[in-house]
Assembly symmetry: C2
Homo-oligomer: 145 residues x 2
Amino acid sequence: MSEIPPAPLADHLCFALYSASMAVQRTYKPVLDELGLTYPQYLVMITLWAEDGLAVGQIAETLSLESSTLTPLLQRLEQSGLLVRRRDPENERRVIITLTDKGKALRGQAHCVTDRLVSSSQMSTEELARINGEVRRLRAAVVGE
Amino acid sequence: MSEIPPAPLADHLCFALYSASMAVQRTYKPVLDELGLTYPQYLVMITLWAEDGLAVGQIAETLSLESSTLTPLLQRLEQSGLLVRRRDPENERRVIITLTDKGKALRGQAHCVTDRLVSSSQMSTEELARINGEVRRLRAAVVGE
DNA sequence: CAAGAAAATATTTATCGCGATATATTTCGC
DNA sequence: GCGAAATATATCGCGATAAATATTTTCTTG
């Protein structure tokens, strides 16, 4: 039996996702630097702009991250003055995250980040939305819906 | 003028790519653990299985990584006995990476990793190949071909 | 042609992000 | 009340980026 050689790099969907994700993050970086955010921090802010007052675990669920990843990340955002962390009085196991005025104010500048992808890719928003749907469908399939 | 609020998380293509890439990496992890590789190390091995004897800079170019990322990664792979690093006698600025027999032998077990994505996603290989093409096209557009 | 500037290449260092594991701490069920 | 579950934190190693450094090669130019 001859062994099946692994496919060349170009055929690996995992590499396409990996390198595309990195490329987008590099595109965002200059704008995020101006906002004082890293990319995962930016994802947390998007989550909180949509719904404030979430617990750490809820943010972790939304972003598919471990709470052990989020805790230091949120501590840094708190030190930046963008949010406040406090125990939930009704369930002291939980830590509730609340945006400060400064954190809310950052929301207005955030659309510049997304614009960056649209302009750099030179693709229509319809095309980008279509690819978004495909990739989300793939992810859902991989994690089992 | 009211400010444009950023779109909800689901509309962000960057998050779709990011979370899909992470999901695939988590799927691969158990198999890669058995091989003693991390995911970026696996990408390096795929590159070298396709063409051995590359310089650090060529691997960096292929994977869109910085040499400062690759140097410690390659040092770890060397310590694992999978490859050898040595200066190119013809151009002493370069460091040539060569697979050991152990590194070459690992190639036969590697298709198990890819199988993992195909089976977990429950999508046809045609479908996966089509998405691969879409994502690659997006990446190429973002980085400017 | 030779000397020095510039470019190419890899490494080092520092900082942050992320995963995995282990460890509290609190709450809930029996 | 005690054990089990849920939640967050601490710790350690690897990865990614940027900036600084070192070395070699190539270019320029007097």
